[in-house]
Symmetry: C2
Subunit: 327 residues, 2 copies
């Protein structure tokens, strides 16, 4: 199934079911008012939503309308929890080198994760206001999951069962704040403005074989101002999503609607390019001896779209955003 | 004004207005369904709520009922944002010594803050399930504020204007996870289970002169298993709440309902005692040469109540909780 959220004046927006080919949508508020209520009541709602999805795909819904991603909010416009891993160790190791921070202890064996702002998730085509070009404005292309309720001290099986939906994320970052905030040990506040989401959240079956080992076996194709930036593959994630969820739930239960991110998708092969500017910069420093690429300027745009290995478009739709000056 | 939240099967609970003496309450859902909607629509709702509060205090509300804190949820049972400062530098310096962590850079001049779980705030008398006594179970007595909307890059004045309500918090902590999580630089996940709140959230005027310089000029009286533990005073906070809010909003707006904590209340004078066990332990190590106090066991209880300088009870009611084994 595929879901999106349209504005209706409420904090959670209104639920629509989107057709498999992303061309049509239908209001689903008779089944659940919003996506948060879907993941809260998955067992109760899933069959009705599946029936509506099947009818929509069969062209049998009179009330269907053209799906326009530019009208979408984030699938969850707000949540009570956003936890972002750094599960591509290749990226983490490069970032340590980029920012000259101390090696993270147990980085290969215990997931690293920060808790971020979840009050203001941005939609796929929202302009992104930032206070200053001097802050090191960067994108981070990621995959993520939305969970149902997960019990405290969940096993890996319970964590896997907690995965309701898959999403695609741009975790906006301000690099000039990162090293100082990491040095506090308290994590990121100013370095991490609100994250953005592709328009469509999907059930894992929509990925077919590409949902494997608790990982997105998809490329994340990224262009910056229309130029190719990278297409790293999700399969190289060093921790699976169930492992990230179990880490998060070690000492507290997760209420439904928890969003857990992979961290920047990153591959060992230089051919894959990168999913964030900071990583490209450190690769330039290592490979070329000097940093050539600067961070984003106001007016710059970034586009992110998942792709299957055979080149088909991924199921999430496209993130396409412009950075603007905060008024 | 004083507010509390009672359960009604929804994520946000239902709003009640509580009398100044905390003996009576009245349903306020005809004005606003829950406290989150109050802070979202403060200008629109405040006058009606004040009128109801005045009538309740005058004994003129037929529908008033006895206020029972044991039935209360946290004032906000969930929120989209919980940011906890470490604004009592005395505490921070002692904790560095306790856990042998590196000095935090710019600790005296830039607030330190972590983002915590806000999906499952606990009520004032809820039993608190924890996975293991070996995790270093600790309480942290704190003061906090709930904001309305705060713009990105808010000035100190705008930050001060964003303060809607004052609250009292127990920021549960698991000390065995803290040093490793700090060493990642990514902040606390496993070290910080869901926080608990005193039953009543109040407008700043309820503190009278004790709300001064953006600080709670109140003692926070803490007992552990019925024995006095400390009564540190909020006036020694090194950063004010407007400073914490402006720090949080530096690169992102805060939507209404953001909860910002002071960090553990802590005083330079040893006579004040402490608001968490970890701080007492390091003081024992410094002053006595050995740690005598162990962390909490299942069945242990902690009680926290604010007090005015003249000995009157603070306005928030009492946090009184027992730690139990997670089933």
């Amino acid at each position: 199934m595929k879901f999106a959220t349209l504005p209706n004046g409420t904090l959670d927006g209104r639920l629509v079911v989107v057709s498999k080919d992303l061309t049509k949508a239908v209001d689903a508020t008779v089944i659940a008012p919003n996506l948060l209520s879907v993941v809260q009541n998955w067992q109760e709602k899933a069959a009705d939503l599946q029936a509506l999805y099947d009818l929509l795909n069969a062209g049998k819904v009179d009330a269907a309308f053209d799906f326009d991603p530019s009208t979408c909010l984030a699938p969850l416009p707000r949540s009570s929890q956003w936890l972002d891993g750094s599960a591509f160790i290749n990226h983490g190791k490069l970032m340590e080198e980029a920012f000259n921070t101390k090696p993270i202890p147990d980085f290969d064996t215990i997931p690293v994760m920060y808790q971020g702002a979840s009050d203001d998730f941005q939609g796929p085509t929202a302009d992104i206001p930032m206070p200053s070009e001097a802050d090191g404005i960067d994108f981070e292309g990621e995959f993520g999951v939305i969970t149902g309720p997960v019990p405290m001290a969940a096993t890996l099986d319970e964590a896997a069962q907690g995965i309701c939906l898959l999403v695609q994320i741009n975790d906006w970052s301000l690099r000039s704040f990162g090293p100082r905030e990491m040095a506090t040990g308290f994590g990121f506040i100013q370095a991490k403005p609100s994250s953005s989401f592709a328009p469509v959240a999907v059930t894992p079956d929509e990925l077919g074989d590409a949902w494997k080992n608790g990982r997105f076996n998809l490329h994340l194709n990224i262009t910056w101002n229309g130029e190719r930036f990278g297409e790293p593959h999700g399969s190289e994630m060093n921790f699976s999503f169930p492992e990230l969820i179990a880490h998060a739930a070690r000492t507290r239960k997760l209420n439904a609607g928890c969003v857990i991110g992979s961290g920047t998708v990153s591959n060992k092969s230089r051919d894959a390019g990168s999913a964030c500017i900071a990583e490209r910069r450190v690769i330039e420093k290592i490979d070329l001896g000097e940093i050539k690429t600067q961070y984003m300027r106001f007016g710059d745009s970034v586009r992110m779209q998942a792709k299957f290995d055979d080149g088909r478009d991924g199921p999430f739709g496209v993130i396409e955003q412009k950075v603007i000056a905060n008024k």
